[in-house]
């Protein structure tokens, strides 16, 4: 977390913080953007987004960055008191990785295959379902197999035990470099869902004090994001991150820059005017996608589930 005696805020990262997926947080922390907002941000790693949502609702943390899919399901289907306060990544960040020997490049290619998932019933499975629905593939024809997260999972693909597996953007970037035989399918080509957003609980949003913290948090992130976007080469950004953090991908400057570029593009994928905003149209589209795929009930009104007010000024 950031040093100094600012107001304490707990951010829940659903993966270890040490990936470039968390560039905004890393830069905001290392570059003093949080400190300038008078915040002392604590990062806590949780196991998956379900746990993060539970922790937010319980009030043990202020904010987390989770997917739009699980947010909609939580709010729409379970009536969870959760609010999307800012969309950070506008496009899906998971990738389906297959091998060149039996590549998967379109939704139709999934038919009749066994697909590896990091865990059962989570976002990655929903993403798969959405892709299948888009391609008109019968979901029942696709075998799902939990394979977890481990460096060796791609070898299960190479061996033909699974046809493809769902991996993070970072992982797929790494595989693209380390394993030339990897074929990467980007679901964003066919679906709208899969964005990542900052969420907090409704009671915290309604409490003026925590609402203020939330606002300052987002401002700190926005200032960090602007700094990153102002540095297209990425050198300055990496230097800032390295000043405080040390993890493997930082050692590989080329890979790190590719990843950074991919993330920056994602932040702006809905247009610069929608940077860190939730585009109501996309939000509706995501809901439509989910409900038509049968992942959640239809006929709901998703607009109250997000707000752009905090960064509105």
């Amino acid at each position: 977390g950031a040093g100094g005696g600012g107001d304490r805020v707990t951010f829940l990262n659903v993966l270890p913080l040490e990936t470039l997926s968390f560039t905004p947080e890393l830069v905001a922390s290392a570059g003093g953007h949080f400190a300038r907002e008078g915040l002392d941000v604590q990062f806590q790693t949780t196991r998956g987004s379900a746990q993060a949502i539970q922790t937010l609702i319980a009030g043990s943390a202020l904010v987390s960055r989770i997917g739009d899919i699980e947010t909609m399901i939580a709010v729409g289907e379970r009536n969870a008191p959760l609010v999307n306060v800012s969309t950070m990544l506008q496009q899906v960040t998971v990738r389906m990785v297959s091998a060149a020997s039996a590549p998967i490049r379109t939704p139709a290619d999934f038919a009749g295959k066994t697909i590896g998932l990091p865990s059962q019933g989570g976002t990655s499975e929903t993403t798969l379902d959405l892709v299948l629905a888009r391609g008109g593939v019968d979901p029942a024809s696709v075998q799902r197999q939990v394979v977890g997260l481990a460096p060796g999972v791609f070898d299960l693909v190479v061996q033909g035990r699974i046809a493809a597996y769902v991996a993070s953007l970072d992982t797929s970037e790494q595989l693209r470099i380390q394993r030339p035989e990897a074929v990467i399918f980007n679901p964003a080509d066919v679906i709208a869902s899969g964005a990542q957003l900052y969420a907090t609980s409704r009671p915290q949003l309604e409490d003026p004090r925590s609402r203020d913290l939330m606002t300052r948090y987002l401002r700190g992130i926005r200032s960090a994001v602007n700094a990153v976007l102002a540095d297209p080469s990425g050198d300055q950004t990496l230097a800032t991150i390295r000043s405080r953090f040390d993890f493997p991908i930082l050692q590989d400057t080329a890979l790190a820059k590719t990843s950074l570029a991919a993330y920056s593009a994602n932040w702006n994928a809905a247009g610069p005017q929608n940077l860190m905003r939730t585009d109501p149209a996309r939000w509706q589209a995501t809901y439509a996608e989910l409900s038509s795929a049968g992942v959640m009930p239809g006929g709901l009104q998703p607009d109250p589930w997000f707000t752009n007010e905090l960064l509105g000024s």
Binding site: G48, A50, Q51, I53, Q54, I57, A58, E70, I73, A74, R78, A80, S119, Q120, G121, G122, T123, E125, R144, Q145, V146, V147, G148, A150, P151, G152, V153, D155, L156, Q159, R161
Partner: protein, 263 residues
């Protein structure tokens, strides 16, 4: 006499009483601490979910898968643990030599080994059975070791005086005198087999109660999650009491099962 009577009917009274107590405390915790239903749903919601779960035939399939894994893993652990314990208990230098390896093997995080398991054993039951066996093995082994070492010297002299073979000594002396230890180890082990199988199911596969835990967790369906947990606790308890019953049948002579002369 009276003691024994009490031991007979008490569990049938105490278990429901404890259950009622648990439900009361649970309800109180939920309402007094104001815990969100997403974290800890009220007992009523869990009960409703449990009802749905129990009428769903798929649930019983999952139960069957988990029980199969647990029992297979437990059986493997039992055989290896008893054999290993007896051999190491007798050959002290081998035990000293093997300990570091055994301990290291136990503490290795199994999550890292999943791809190896999958490559070698596939996605089926095998890797979960192995997980269950690994966790159950150690308590049995160490207890058997203790048991073999604790065999009464006088009793050992009797067998040695009779020039008994290793096998007869095992059969007539070491096995019966180690059985109380084996059973204590087994009671720990059956519980750890359940944990092992469940963890195995978290990490891979799409069957079993562990799978149900993860999928209801990911679906943020807390009542279903807790219903699965209740089911799991029930399955675990049934397995535990099966081992406990076996103990009572197999070693009626031991103090740990026979009633006291007086309280």
């Amino acid at each position: 006499m009276e003691q024994r009577g009490v031991a007979k009917w008490l569990p049938w009274v105490s278990a429901p009483v404890m259950l009622v107590l648990l439900v009361i405390v649970w309800s109180l915790v939920v309402s007094v601490f104001g815990i969100s239903e997403f974290v800890l749903p009220p007992p009523s919601a869990v009960a409703a979910s449990l009802g749905e779960l129990l009428v769903d035939p798929a649930t019983w399939g999952h139960v069957q898968v988990t029980v199969t894994e647990v029992l297979s893993g437990f059986a493997i652990a039992l055989v290896l643990g008893v054999l290993g314990g007896v051999v190491l208990g007798r050959i002290a230098w081998l035990e000293v030599a093997m300990r570091p390896a055994l301990v290291a093997f136990q503490v290795v995080p199994k999550v890292a080994l999943i791809p190896i398991f999958v490559i070698w054993f596939g996605f089926g039951l095998t890797s979960k059975v192995i997980m269950a066996a690994i966790l159950a093995f150690f308590p049995i082994l160490l207890n058997v070791l203790l048991g073999v070492r604790s065999v009464d010297r006088g009793h050992r002299d009797v067998m040695r005086g009779l020039g008994a073979t290793r096998w007869s000594t095992f059969r007539n002396l070491e096995l019966p005198s180690t059985l109380p230890y084996v059973f204590a180890g087994m009671e720990v082990a059956i519980v750890f087999s359940v944990i092992g199988a469940i963890v195995g199911e978290y990490l891979g596969g799409n069957e079993g109660l562990g799978f149900l835990v993860v999928s209801s967790l990911n679906a943020l369906d807390a009542p279903a999650l807790f219903a699965v947990i209740v089911l799991l606790a029930a399955v675990g308890s049934v397995l535990f009491f099966a081992v406990n019953l076996a103990k009572r049948l197999v070693i009626p002579w031991h103090e740990s099962v026979s009633e006291k002369e007086f309280a």
